[in-house]
Amino acid sequence: MSNLLRIESISKAYASKVALSDVSFDVHEGVIVGLLGPNGAGKTTLIRIINQITIPDSGRVFFKENLINTNDVIRFGYLPEERGLYKKMKVGEQALYLSQLKGMNRKEALIELKKWFEKFEIATWWDKKVEELSKGMQQKVQFIISVLHKPSVLIFDEPFSGFDPINANLIKQELLQMKKDGVTILLSTHNMASVEELCDEIVLINSSKNVLNGKVNQIKQEYKEHLFEVIFTGFVNVIEMAHRYQYEIISNEPIENGQRVVLKLLDKTVSTNVLIQALLQVGNIVSFKELLPTMDDIFIKVVNQTNN
C-alpha cells in the first residue's frame, strides 16, 4: 500500500479560534479512511484544505509524493457537507453542466449519466426541475455527479445525511464497489455504524488535533478491554464459576433457555483456550466470543480522554 495523500503538519487558525493544529496523517491507496471527530473539531476545514479551497497557515499536502495542485484536485470527486444544486435548473441539464466542469466532454458525460440514472432508477427525473425533488432525491443526484468522472480519490463530507436506510445502503454498496476498483475514499461522518461497515482506517480529530489514527482493526485491538461473552444452556454452576481467579464477572443475566455471562479477563497471559477449559466445568457452553469495543465506544472514550 503506497501513500496516495500525505497530510503534513497542517495548521489553520481563524480569527476567533484554532481550527487545526499540527495535523498529520497518511492516506493509503485503495482504502476507505474515516475522518471522525465531534462537531467543530476541524474536519470540514481539513477537507477544504485537502481540496485546495482553503489555504492552511502552515503545513503541506502531498498527492502521489508531490505537492498537491489544483489540477489534481479537479480530478477528485468531492461531496461537501453544505451541498446543493441550482433549484431552477433541470436535473439532467445540471448534471451535464457540473460534470463538464469536472473536465468530461458532453458526450461521455451523457453516456455515463444515463448509465447511473438507470442504475439508481431515477431516469424519469432527467427533465424535472431540482426544486421538485426531495432532499434525499437531490442527494442521490449529487452523489452521481461527484463520482461520474471516475475519480481516483473521493472526498465525502457526511455523505449519508438525508438518506433513508435503503438509499444509504445503496450508497454504501457503491462505495465498497469503488474501493474494490481501487478508488481511495476519504469519508467524514458522525455515523459510527457506517464507519464499522466501510472504513479500513480512521483519523480522529478532536479540538483541532489528530488524536487517533490507524487501521480500524488495530485500534479495536488496542482499545479492547478483554471482555468475553459466554452463553450457556441449562444449569450453570454460578458458585463454581465465581471461584475462578483469571476473570471477573461483569454481568450475569438469564436469557431464554440459559444464561448470558460477560467476563473480564484479569490475567492477560491466560489464553482463550485455558479460559474456555475453565468455563467448561461450570455449564454447557453454546457460544463464546470476544467483545471488541465498537467505534462508538472508542470515539467517546478518546474524545473524553483528550478533553480532560
Binding site: A15, R48, N51, I53, T54, I55, T70, V73, I74, F76, Y78, L79, P80, E82, R83, G84, L85, Y86, K87, L98, L101, K102, Q142, I145, S146
Partner: protein
C-alpha cells in the same frame, strides 16, 4: 422601454376625444361669435335667458358647461363656468387664453392703441452661442440636444449599473443559499466563479440593451407614423388657440421667421456636431467599466451575506455615490465645465454617470483619459478587494457579518 414612452402619450391622446359644446351666456355682449373653436370645443351663444335657465337645460341640451361672462368683465376679468362635471384643464386653458387675448385687444382699442403696434414692439431675445475653438475657428452651438443626450446617457448607465449589479448580487446569494457554491469551487477557483458571474451578466445586459435599442427604435418609428394623424389634430388645436394672435401680428411673424430658421439650422448643426461614434464608444466604455467596478462590489456583498435581508447595511455605501451622481445631473448640465462636474467625473464611483452627462458638451480629451484611467484602476482594485471578501464569505454560513469581519478577510494572506 419603448412602451414606457409610448403608452402614456397614447393614453394622453385618448383622453380628450369627446366633443364639447359650451353654452356662452355673454352679458357683456362683447364676445358674440368671436371665441375661437377647435375640433373638440364648440360654443353656442345664448342671447335669451339667464345663467340659471341655461344651467337647468345643461343635461337636456347636452352642454358640456355653461360659461357666464359678466358685464363687468373688462374691469374685473372673472368669468364663471358651471358644469355637472369638473371641466377639463384643456377646456379651461382654451377659454382662459381666448378671453385674455380678446380682453387685451379690447382694452388697447379703448385706449386707442393699435394692437399691431403692441405686437411689433414685442421682442423675443435669443442668445446665439458661438464656441471659440483652440485653433481659432468659430462654431455656432445649441446646447439643448447635448442636454438631452447627456441626461439620457447618464441615466441609462445609472439604471443598468443598478439593475445588473443587483442581479450579480442576487446570483451570488442564490448560489450560496442553494449550497452549490462549494461543489463548483472544487472545480473552479472562487475568483473565476465570481468573474464568470460578473462577465456573464454583463453580456446578458449588453444583449438586452441591444434588443431594447432595436425594439425601441422600431416601435417608436412605427408608433410615430401611426400617431401622425393624431398629431395633426393636436397641431390644429394649438393653431386654433393662437389663430387670433397670429392674424393680428403678421408683421412681427415675418420678422421672427429669420431667427427661427437660423435656430433650426443651429440644432441641425449641433446634431452634426455630436460625434455619435464617440458617444456610443464612451457610453459602452463607461457602462462596461462602471458596471464591472460596481458589480464586483455587489458580488462581494452577495458573498458576505446569507440572504437578501442582510444586504441592507452593505448596500448603503454603494448606492449613495450612484444616487448622488443622479442628483448632480441637473447641476452638471447647467455647468458642464464647473468644478463639481470636473471632480465628480474624476471620482470613479460617480464618474460613469457624470462623465457620460458631460461628454456631449465636449470634454477635453485629457480629462476623459484621466477619468477613464482612474475608473479602470478602481475597477482592478475593487475586483481584487471583492475577490478577497467573496472567497472567504461564500464558504461561511449562518454568521452575521460586520464591516470589521470584511476588513479581516481582506487582510488574510491568500
Amino acid at each position: 422601454m419603448a412602451a414606457l414612452f409610448i403608452v402614456p402619450a397614447w393614453i394622453a391622446n385618448l383622453e380628450d376625444d369627446e366633443d364639447k359644446l359650451i353654452a356662452v351666456v355673454d352679458s357683456s355682449r362683447l364676445f358674440q361669435h368671436i371665441l375661437p373653436e377647435t375640433d373638440k370645443i364648440h360654443f353656442i351663444y345664448l342671447n335669451k335667458g339667464t345663467v340659471n335657465d341655461a344651467e337647468k337645460e345643461i343635461a337636456k341640451n347636452h352642454y358640456y358647461a355653461v360659461l357666464y361672462i359678466p358685464p363687468t368683465v373688462l374691469s374685473t376679468p372673472i368669468v364663471t363656468m358651471s358644469s355637472p362635471k369638473q371641466p377639463s384643464l384643456a377646456v379651461r386653458m382654451h377659454i382662459m387664453s381666448s378671453l385674455k387675448s380678446q380682453i387685451e385687444s379690447f382694452k388697447l382699442i379703448k385706449k386707442e392703441i393699435d394692437p399691431e403696434v403692441i405686437q411689433s414692439v414685442k421682442t423675443d431675445v435669443k442668445v446665439g452661442v458661438i464656441k471659440l475653438n483652440d485653433d481659432g475657428t468659430r462654431e455656432v452651438k445649441s446646447s439643448d440636444l447635448q442636454m438631452v443626450i447627456g441626461f439620457v446617457g447618464g441615466f441609462l448607465i445609472y439604471i443598468f449599473i443598478f439593475m445588473y449589479g443587483a442581479q450579480v448580487m442576487r446570483g451570488v446569494i442564490e448560489e450560496k443559499t442553494n449550497r452549490i457554491v462549494e461543489v463548483i469551487i472544487s472545480s473552479v477557483k472562487p475568483f473565476q466563479l465570481m468573474m464568470g458571474k460578473i462577465i456573464g451578466i454583463a453580456l446578458v445586459g449588453l444583449t438586452q440593451f441591444l434588443i431594447w435599442g432595436v425594439l425601441t427604435f422600431s416601435i417608436v418609428s412605427i408608433a410615430s407614423s401611426v400617431m401622425m394623424k393624431n398629431n395633426h389634430l393636436i397641431d390644429k388645436q394649438i393653431q386654433g388657440v393662437s389663430l387670433m394672435e397670429k392674424n393680428s401680428n403678421q408683421v412681427a411673424n415675418n420678422v421672427q421667421t429669420d431667427f427661427s430658421e437660423s435656430e433650426v439650422s443651429v440644432i441641425f448643426e449641433s446634431i452634426k456636431d455630436i460625434d455619435f461614434g464617440v458617444m456610443i464608444f464612451s457610453f459602452l466604455f463607461y457602462f462596461i467599466f462602471g458596471y464591472l467596478m460596481y458589480s464586483a462590489l455587489f458580488a462581494a456583498i452577495g458573498g458576505a451575506v446569507d440572504n437578501d435581508a442582510d444586504t441592507q447595511q452593505f448596500m448603503l455605501p454603494i448606492t449613495i455615490p450612484l444616487i448622488l451622481s443622479i442628483v448632480l445631473i441637473s447641476n452638471i448640465i447647467n455647468n458642464p465645465e464647473g468644478p463639481i462636474a470636473f471632480w465628480f467625473s474624476m471620482i470613479p464611483l460617480t464618474s460613469p454617470v457624470v462623465m457620460m452627462v458631460r461628454i456631449p458638451f465636449g470634454v477635453p480629451w485629457t480629462q476623459v483619459m484621466l477619468s477613464a484611467s482612474i475608473l479602470i484602476a478602481t475597477f482592478i482594485f475593487t475586483t481584487w478587494l471583492a475577490g478577497k471578501i467573496y472567497k472567504t464569505g461564500i464558504l461561511l454560513y449562518g454568521k452575521k457579518v460586520t464591516y470589521k469581519d470584511l476588513y479581516k478577510w481582506i487582510r488574510y494572506k491568500n
